[in-house]
Amino acid sequence: MLNSVVQGILLGGLYALFATGLSLIFGVMRLVNLAHGDLSILAAFLALVVVRVTEINPLLALLVVVPAMAGFGYLMQRGVLNFTLGRGVLPPVLVTFGFSIIIQNLLLEVFSADSQRLNPGRIETASIAIGKELAIGWFPLITFVVAVLIVIGLQLFMSGTSLGRALRATSDDQEAAELMGIDNRRLYGVAMALALAIVGVAGVFLGIRTTFGPSSGPDRLLFAFEAVIIGGLGSLWGTLAGGIILGVAQTIGAKFSPGWGILTGHLVFLAVLFVRPTGLFRGTQ
């Protein structure tokens, strides 16, 4: 049981990686990117291509994937998504949903429906044994540590840099921020680039941890969403906590019956939603 909880916590780190990007974008521009999960799968496939072509370790492929995803995010935001903002609820939902369907089916056409896996070598299965019951995999541990580092980094960025302050100001009052000389369009592009860079990391780590295919995206979106809601809007640490709670719920659920892992996570999410809709940790919103 202890083992399951620990595995769940470490899994939560991965979920937090997914959730952080989603939370960032919603916090800054009130946009829920429905293609969020599919973009992480896109990143995983990109890593796959890089690995196949260069035969380097998938973790090194991050050096290509992360900048590529960031660039793509900036272009996507400035080229398309900026035009969906401030026009009501439907355009952002529809356009990002459209992206989701487009990306899934493009990947399907290009790569077929086969399951894929990224292989980082020995590090994937290596583990540390703690006591008699506990074995912690190196890779899940690394994933968790990276997630925490990214959350810390993002916090420092938002509170300590001029750009981070500008992002927070824009999310508070877009027009007043413009009066301070802040160009919202460019800033949103930067925010999306940042979010997709994180999504790139999440996608590669996911691809190493488990098999993935063109239609694996939506589940990731749902988990990210659940982690954000459980943790509470507006709090990065809350999102991390939400990811952990979700990870633990899924792992313990799966222990009782394999088909029930994900469902348990969903049920815990619904329970939190029912009892405490604002999430377990209050943020700045």
């Binding site: 100001a169 508070d172 301070m180 000389g181």
Partner: protein
């Protein structure tokens, strides 16, 4: 050459026309007041100047260049900065962070964090508090300080007396000379006529989207102003 030259400025909100051809000039270093009742078009005028409202390119000239319709964030770089109506400070930022955001465009000039603390000591006391916890008057000071951090050439004030106690408003207007003294040009929109006439070099009165009166405060009688203000 005037710092700000507005010629035949018209402005619309959809089909509704708010300004019917405003023409005025402001020279560098002047403090100019724009008064008028609700709906006269004062705030629309400021929104047009500051870049929040789309207007024809040639309707507004700043330092000789046509800037009508340029987006607000660009105009800040040129030195046109507005203290918006309702303060609109950033609630999830601290006082200090609010001020720092003002300096986003990194324009050079005499204003810095230290000088703002000097001008508004009460802000220094609350520098690490969230902007939302300040009183109305303090928020107004913060909004002004934030705009000053952008080192403006032309500072626009949109109804700073709104919602504030008279003593607070008096205090704010006392600090105005310290702001304009350094050569910053000020365009002050106000409903509270008495306060602003004490600091303005010239005054314009707006009524129904047009200029109804123009002159130096010393040269105008109360009756003239009332007539231009209310149209009776």
């Amino acid at each position: 050459m005037s710092l700000l030259a507005v010629h035949g400025l018209t402005a619309f909100y959809g089909d509704f026309q708010a300004l019917f051809g405003i023409t005025l000039r402001i020279d560098e270093g002047e403090a100019v007041a724009v008064i008028g009742s609700n709906g006269a078009g004062k705030t629309t005028f400021l929104r047009a100047i500051s870049g929040l409202l789309a207007v024809p390119l040639d309707a507004v000239h700043f330092a000789g260049r046509p800037v009508g319709g340029h987006p607000a964030h660009e105009l800040v770089a040129h030195g046109i900065v507005m203290v918006p109506e309702g303060r609109r400070i950033f609630p999830s930022l601290t006082v200090k962070e609010n001020l720092k955001v003002g300096a986003y465009r990194k324009r050079s000039g005499p204003w810095s964090l230290e000088r703002v603390w000097e001008l508004f000591p009460v802000l220094a006391e609350r520098s690490n508090q969230s902007g939302a916890t300040l009183s109305g008057g303090e928020q107004q000071m913060l909004a002004i300080g934030r705009a000053l951090m952008a080192n403006p050439r032309l500072l626009l004030f949109d109804e700073i007396s709104l919602g504030l106690a008279p003593s607070v408003v008096r205090h704010l207007y006392h600090t105005l000379p310290a702001i304009t003294g350094g050569g910053t040009t000020a365009l002050i929109v106000e409903q509270d006529v008495s306060q602003v006439l004490g600091v303005a070099d010239r005054v314009f009165c707006f009524r129904k989207g047009q200029v109804s009166l123009e002159g130096r405060p010393a040269d105008l009688t109360r009756a003239q102003i009332a007539a231009a203000y209310f149209g009776v």
